[in-house]
Amino acid sequence: MKQVKWEDNIKQVLEKRVMTPSDASWGALSERLDASEKHSIKPMFWWIGIAASVTTLLFITTLFFNGNTPDLQNQIVVETQEQVDEQSLKMEQAPQEHQLVERNEKSDTAAQVEKNDVTKQPIKSQDIITSAKQQRTEIVKNNQVAPVSPMVPNSEMETLENIKITEIVAQIQDLTSKGETVTDADIEALLVKAQKEMNYQSAIRESNYAVDANALLRDVETDLQESFRNKIFEALKNSYETLRTAVAERHN
């Protein structure tokens, strides 16, 4: 039989022992726990306060930097508006050039009776077109704000032109029949008057556009210079030949 170690006996005796704590022990412990919980909440408030301050500072900084960029935004708006204006100007140039080409084609068909004139006309019209283009580009470059010319459909423009041509021719014939001499100055005056009326009519039809008078006159001058003048001359020539034939037959 093995001898039980005496220290194991001591251990068994001591392990069985329990000692009742005093009645006030739990009260003291509970108070310490309460104090500890209150103390642990305070640092939390500090951290929350610091976090709120940092968040507010970041928010104000963001607002400050976003608010300092209105100039940039305005510049961007101005630039895009200028780009839009340039683009609209280019679009307007294209149909006007197209009108020049169409008028030249019509004048070519009208002048096929006189071959010499026909051969000369295209060349002249080509030169006129190029010179007109050059003048127009010069005008555009000089102007800061591109003038907005009234956009009237080409068909309406041609109809108006034909009407005015007919009127001018009728007036010239009237003067001639009365025996009055028709000078170049008179014809020029009639042309200017007709052009003014045409512009007035087109301006009435286009109500939304703001018309720059000076720019319009320049456009009119360049347009009027050759193509319209050529039409008038052709019409006058035809009517003069008609008259001459009529007079010759009468004498006969």
């Binding site: 001591l14 392990e15 704590p21 022990s25 412990l29 726990l33």
Partner: protein
């Protein structure tokens, strides 16, 4: 089944106590305080001081309950906290000294001792030991710590721990034998 149910109840109680449920904490205290006070009494002679050390231990345990992992028993975890608190108290008192000088021990030829001891007598003999001897003896013989664990906790070498234990055993054995002899003589005289 009852053991499992008790274990589950204990887990639920601890979960509530972690959330600072005062009632749950009170139940834990009432359940384990008597045993913990006894453990503190192993190391500290004065009962009032032992109770204060026990309360300190419970305060640390309840405020750090989230660190308790359910891989061991709650009582074992609590017990370790109490031992550390007791050692810390003795260090503060500056009574914890590991004397290298040999205490006068009368060598006993007969190493056997009577198996039955009275509780208070045992505790009295342990209290009479020098602090260094007492702590190492209690930690090794009663608590079941290994020498390297004792050395780490007390910041001594394993050799010192072993020598302290040897001397503690010898001294304690001597005191108990002397006490028993006197008890026997008294009882014989009473007849």
């Amino acid at each position: 089944m009852k053991v499992i149910q008790l274990h589950n109840n204990n887990i639920q109680l601890i979960k509530k106590a972690v959330k600072n449920n005062r009632e749950a904490q009170h139940v834990l205290y009432e359940t384990h305080a008597p045993k913990m006070l006894s453990i503190c009494r192993y190391y500290i002679k004065d009962l009032q001081h032992a109770e204060n050390v026990m309360l300190n231990g419970f305060f640390k345990a309840l405020t750090n309950l989230k660190n308790f992992k359910n891989d061991g028993s709650f009582e074992g975890w609590l017990r370790k906290i109490m031992v550390r608190e007791a050692i810390s108290f003795l260090r503060q008192q500056k009574t914890l000294e590991f004397s290298v000088e040999d205490v006068e021990i009368v060598h006993q030829h007969d190493n056997t001792m009577e198996s039955e001891f009275e509780l208070e007598e045992i505790q009295r003999h342990i209290d009479a030991l020098p602090e260094g001897y007492k702590i190492v003896f209690v930690m090794y013989a009663i608590e079941g710590y290994k020498h390297h664990e004792i050395a780490t906790l007390l910041n001594i070498t394993e050799g010192t721990s072993k020598s302290q234990l040897f001397k503690a055993k010898q001294l304690l054995q001597q005191k108990i034998n002397t006490s028993n002899r006197q008890h026997n003589e008294t009882s014989e005289m009473g007849r």
